[in-house]
């Protein structure tokens, strides 16, 4: 970014452009007084909403979890892999109160706008403290193996990340992709089948990607060429994929598992040196290959969407296809390509279910993850990094649920399972900032 001529204040602008225009009254009256932004936008600005929310939640956590947590026990968080390794003990009650207060403080800071420039980080701090406060209560008297929790969280998030990236690619170009679930299933099934037949995992992975691509191709043809309603179409494609893979499974892969459904799995890839870093090493650098693919894709798509010609055109097509058309962009071509890219990504996401984790394919083994990926896409505001954060949150919630029922928590696991989706609803309802889909999302473009 340059430093010249792009100040947002009228002063910067008028100084920047020496035009004849300045000899007459500036069309933007340069009244320099800056009134409080609250009066301009009403009281419930984003900072005010989020700040109030976290302040209230933080206080509630400090009081509630603080009272519930036993004051004579520690919650132990083990950061190393071995059972006798480095462990942080936190007095349960004191910790619950302290983290609750920290969350409230972050909320107050958000409210006052001191941290406006670090909005995302402040929300992150508030959320994390809220969670820690809760954990101090729940883990009291127990030990939590943080590394294991983190590793499992990543594993659970992975398909969500890849699925929501597929959604980002499609919806940024203006095509709604409800068929992520179907692409997952097709990818998982094709990966197992072809991987077994070829006795080669990489061939299986390629087959997965192509299977996702096939579903995406159907989506593209019917949505873009034949203008079928995209939501209905997506649902139909999901049912189609479920039926097709179910058929293959019950007729072929289940009866003769050894010949058709035994692909094996990709080994974890350990990156030399980096994997020796304590804590981070085992979590991030000794992980499934799919994690590296997913993270790389997040970075590539994020940069691609917001900093390249490709991304500018994709977003233009998703926001205002007619405008894109009038400057010479081939709207439907961009859409076709993006839907197909999305299919590839979701197909790879599907491969993770079989080739990345368990090996053999099971009927309906994706279990609605494609829909949760859609939720992550919306929670992440149609951006790759947002989707990553949302997918991690959802993955963590799922892992927490598993962990808590393992240590015999008294909280019904159904409630915990609900929590992340409740958060999505709140986010969609606009509690945390503006959530806005690409304007032309789901609208076909026809030139008459």
């Amino acid at each position: 970014m340059t430093t010249e001529n792009h100040g947002t204040s009228p002063v910067g602008r008028t100084e920047g452009a020496h035009t004849a225009l300045q000899t007459r009254p500036s069309p933007q009256p340069a009244i320099e007084e800056v009134a409080e932004s609250t009066t301009a936008r009403g009281f419930w600005t984003r900072s005010h909403r989020a700040g109030t929310l976290f302040a209230v939640l933080g206080i509630a956590a400090a009081v509630g979890f603080g009272a519930l947590a036993p004051s004579d026990q520690d919650a132990r968080f083990r950061l190393s892999e071995s059972a006798d390794g480095f462990t942080i003990p936190i007095p349960a009650a004191a910790g619950a109160i302290a983290f609750g207060v920290l969350c409230a403080v972050a909320g107050v800071l958000l409210f006052t706008g001191v941290t406006r420039r670090f909005f995302g980080w402040s929300v992150g701090v508030a959320l994390t403290s809220l969670l820690l406060s809760f954990l101090c209560w729940q883990v009291a008297g127990e030990t939590m193996a943080v590394v294991t929790v983190a590793q499992t969280t990543l594993l659970l998030s992975l398909p969500l990340i890849l699925g929501s990236l597929s959604g980002v690619l499609c919806e940024r170009a203006g095509v709604i992709n409800i068929a992520i679930e179907g692409q997952f299933l097709a990818g998982a099934c094709a990966g197992a089948l072809v991987g077994t037949l070829a006795s080669n995992l990489w061939v299986g992975l390629a087959a997965s990607a192509l299977a996702g691509l096939f579903i995406a191709w159907l989506l593209a043809i019917f949505a873009i060429r034949y203008l079928v309603d995209q939501v209905v179409l997506g649902v139909v494609l999901n049912v189609f994929a479920l039926g097709l893979t179910g058929f293959l499974f019950s007729r072929l892969m289940q009866p003769e598992q050894q010949t058709y459904n035994n692909p094996g799995t990709f080994k974890e890839v350990s990156i030399p040196l980096l994997s020796d870093i304590p804590f981070l090493g085992p979590v991030l650098f000794e992980a499934s290959m799919f994690l590296y693919i997913a993270l790389a894709l997040v970075v590539i798509i994020q940069i691609g969407l917001f900093h390249t010609r490709w991304g500018l055109r994709v977003r233009a097509v998703g926001e205002h296809p007619t405008a894109a058309d009038t400057v010479g962009i081939r709207v439907n071509r961009v859409r076709y390509l993006n839907v197909l890219y999305g299919g590839l990504v979701a197909g790879i996401g599907g491969a993770f279910f079989t080739l990345g984790r368990v090996g053999p394919f099971q009927e309906n083994m994706t279990d609605g993850k494609g829909f949760i990926a859609l939720a992550a896409l919306i929670f992440g505001r149609w951006s790759p990094t947002g989707a990553l954060a949302a997918a991690l949150l959802f993955g963590f919630a799922e892992q927490l649920q598993i962990y808590l029922s393992a240590i015999g928590s008294e909280i019904p696991s159904e409630i915990l399972a609900m929590a992340p989706y409740l958060a999505t609803l709140l986010a969609v309802a606009g509690l945390i900032g503006k959530v806005r889909a690409p304007a032309a999302d789901g609208q076909p473009y026809v030139n008459r």
Binding site: M1, T2, N5, H6, T8, P10, R13, T14, G16, A17, H18, T19, A20, L21, Q22, T23, R24, P25, S26, P27, Q28, P29, A30, I31, E32, E33, V34, A35, E36, S37, T39, A40, R41, G42, H307, T308, R309, W310, L312, R313, R315, A316, E319, H320, T322, A323, A324, D325, T326, V327, G328, I329, R330, A439, N447, R448
Partner: protein, 598 residues
């Protein structure tokens, strides 16, 4: 800025004229071109090697039908190289349709397009662009969430020279491109502003900048002046002249006959999709209007003196801030009485928009009082304000005025849909809605194939008429009109003006905001001049035009708020004269300021 700088420019002419002169000294013009296109990596569809390329356009027998509406009926049109060809016609005559066919946005049902004598298909704008055609669209083609710079470069992006195949955007140079066109043509705009935050006048500038940067050989301008101020219009006319001097052809669409006569080499009039005839700029305004409408049009507003009653709208010490927190309405006091029209004159962007938005409850008020017949309006919702007997024609019709996908009939009852007679209980009564719609369509002469047509498919001026019809067909205490005749043809302007006067005579208080001084002076009984958020003075419409022009430039008599300006009255007069000029100059070709500077 400074007045010395201003004087220098006034003496030597605006920079764009100098640029154009130097271009003549250097016929290849490769220098100027290199500045704009130098090093575009990869190259979008528009990266053609530049050559002096005079373009002759012929349209033969173009026919375009929408269902049973024949929007274009065997239209023939020839645009010679280096010609400014104006298209005139009523709302819905088919001008935009014809241009969209030419630009490849619509496919003609019949007819052919010849460029330099060679027939060619324009199946997409892409092909039109490749053929050297550029277009400024009546309904802006801007991506609302993009910045100005992003919109301007879209389709012909600036790419960083390092790793060009990856296509990384070079935002710095994109920004410079905008600033350069801004400076060359006097169209100032912040390249980093998000387009949807800009008022329509600025969006229009962005649309023009976008087209100018492409350097097309044939430029289509579809009502580019509808929302421009008189000064901006003058700048644009000068830009058009300099393009013409470079051998480019221009198709210019406007409802403002004066500017058409001032700039056009030939004028083609279209009525009901057919070419009525082609004339030259010497044809008088009355004749042109008659050709367009098919009858004589009275271009002057006839009205009796007002008989003002009690104060209806009372605004006291109002302060309002814009989206960026700048105070744009700064202690305004205004009273509008029953049975009078209060006009607000001023260069666009001096707080008029925000003032109206505050009155309509669309923008929070920082401090002050707004009351309607003594009842406070601040804090009420827009719906409550409308229900209290206020009619409102918003400035940005496509955004705030109509629901594009709703039918004309539905749009006509948007404000009353839940009231009798249009609803009983929770159910709408389509019969009633249709009957009333038919009546209003006839009364306001909305050109639509049926009341069930989606409003989005109507021509621009007809969409405007739908809004005016809706707002003027219920009993009103106060009528707030922002640019009520934006993009409306002369015949319908006459009608809308007559309706506003009739509304006034029924005892409604009217608050009129218009960037066209003509319109304000013709309709208003009192004229409030706004400058930088303040009302400088309230004058009668027969006040000397120079006086109003001075006020619009912020000069109040001997001791103005702007000390500098007051000390150099001559210069001030010269340059503010532009504000009042649009109505002054009647001769075609007059663009160099008012005739009589005292």
């Amino acid at each position: 800025m400074g007045w010395s700088e201003g004087r220098r420019i006034l003496r030597t002419g605006p920079p764009r004229l100098r640029r154009c002169q130097s271009a003549h000294c250097n016929p290849s013009r490769s220098g100027a071109r290199a500045l704009w296109y130098g090093g575009v990596g990869g190259g979008g569809p528009l990266a053609r090697a530049y050559k002096e390329n005079p373009l002759k356009l012929e349209l033969r027998g173009i026919t375009k039908r929408f269902g049973d509406v024949v929007a274009n009926d065997h239209i023939d049109l020839t645009v010679e190289p280096g010609e400014i060809h104006a298209l005139l016609g009523e709302n819905g005559a088919g001008k935009t349709t014809l241009m969209n066919v030419l630009y490849g946005l619509l496919q003609p049902d019949e007819g052919e397009i010849l460029i330099n004598g060679v027939p060619r298909t324009c199946n997409s704008p892409r092909e039109a662009i490749a053929a050297g055609i550029g277009m400024v669209h009546q309904h802006f083609m801007l991506v609302p969430v993009f910045t100005v710079a992003e919109n301007v470069m879209l389709g012909d992006e600036r790419i960083r020279s390092r790793l060009p195949f990856l296509g990384f955007l070079d935002r710095r140079r994109a920004r410079q491109d905008v600033l350069k066109v801004s400076a060359d043509y006097g169209l100032e705009v912040d390249p980093d502003a998000i387009v949807e935050d800009l008022p329509v006048g600025l969006q229009q500038r962005v649309e023009i900048i976008k087209a100018l940067r492409r350097q097309a050989d044939l430029l289509i301008l579809d009502e580019p002046t509808a929302v421009l101020t008189p000064q901006e219009t003058d700048e644009l006319l000068a830009v058009m002249r300099s393009l013409k001097a470079d051998g480019k052809s221009i198709v210019f669409i406007s409802h403002k006959l004066r500017e058409v006569r001032a700039i056009a080499d030939r004028i083609t009039v279209i009525r009901h999709g057919r070419v009525i005839g082609t004339t030259g700029p010497e044809t008088s305004e009355d004749e042109l209007a008659a050709m367009m409408v098919g009858r004589a049009v009275r271009l002057r507003v006839e009205k009796k003196p007002a008989t003002p009653g009690d104060v209806v709208l009372d605004i006291r010490d109002l302060r309002v801030v814009d989206d960026r927190g700048h105070r744009v309405v700064d202690g305004v006091n205004l009273q509008v009485r029953a049975g009078e029209v209060l006009g607000i004159a001023g260069v666009q962007g001096n707080g008029q928009t925000e003032l109206v938005e505050a009155v309509m409850g669309l923008r929070p008020v920082v401090s002050g009082v707004i009351s309607l017949e003594g009842q406070n309006l601040i804090g009420r919702t827009t719906k409550q304000i409308l229900r209290a007997g206020v009619g409102y024609v918003p400035e940005d019709r496509s955004h705030d005025g109509v629901v594009r996908d709703f039918s004309v009939a539905e749009n006509l009852v948007l404000d009353l849909y839940d009231r009798k007679p249009f609803a009983s209980g929770l159910a709408l009564r389509p019969q009633e809605i249709a009957t009333s719609a038919r009546k209003r369509i006839a009364e306001f002469d909305v050109r639509t194939s049926s009341p069930d047509t989606p409003v989005g498919t109507l021509s621009g001026g007809n969409q405007q008429k739908v809004i005016v019809a809706r707002e003027m067909s219920r009993p009103l205490k106060l009528f707030v009109a922002s640019q009520p005749t934006r993009g409306v043809d002369v015949g319908s302007t006459e009608f809308i003006h007559a309706r506003i006067v009739a509304e006034r005579d029924q005892g409604t208080a009217v608050l009129l905001v218009s960037s066209e001084l003509d319109e304000v002076l013709a309709l208003a009984d009192r004229v409030a001049v706004m400058y930088r958020g303040k009302v400088l003075d309230i004058v009668t419409p027969d006040a000397p035009r120079e006086h109003i022009g001075l006020l619009m430039a912020g000069v109040t008599g001997a001791a103005g708020p702007d000390g500098e300006a007051a000390t150099t009255p001559t210069t001030a007069t010269e340059h503010t004269d532009a504000a009042a000029r649009e109505t002054d100059s009647d001769e075609p070709g007059d663009e160099s300021g008012g005739e009589d500077t005292p």
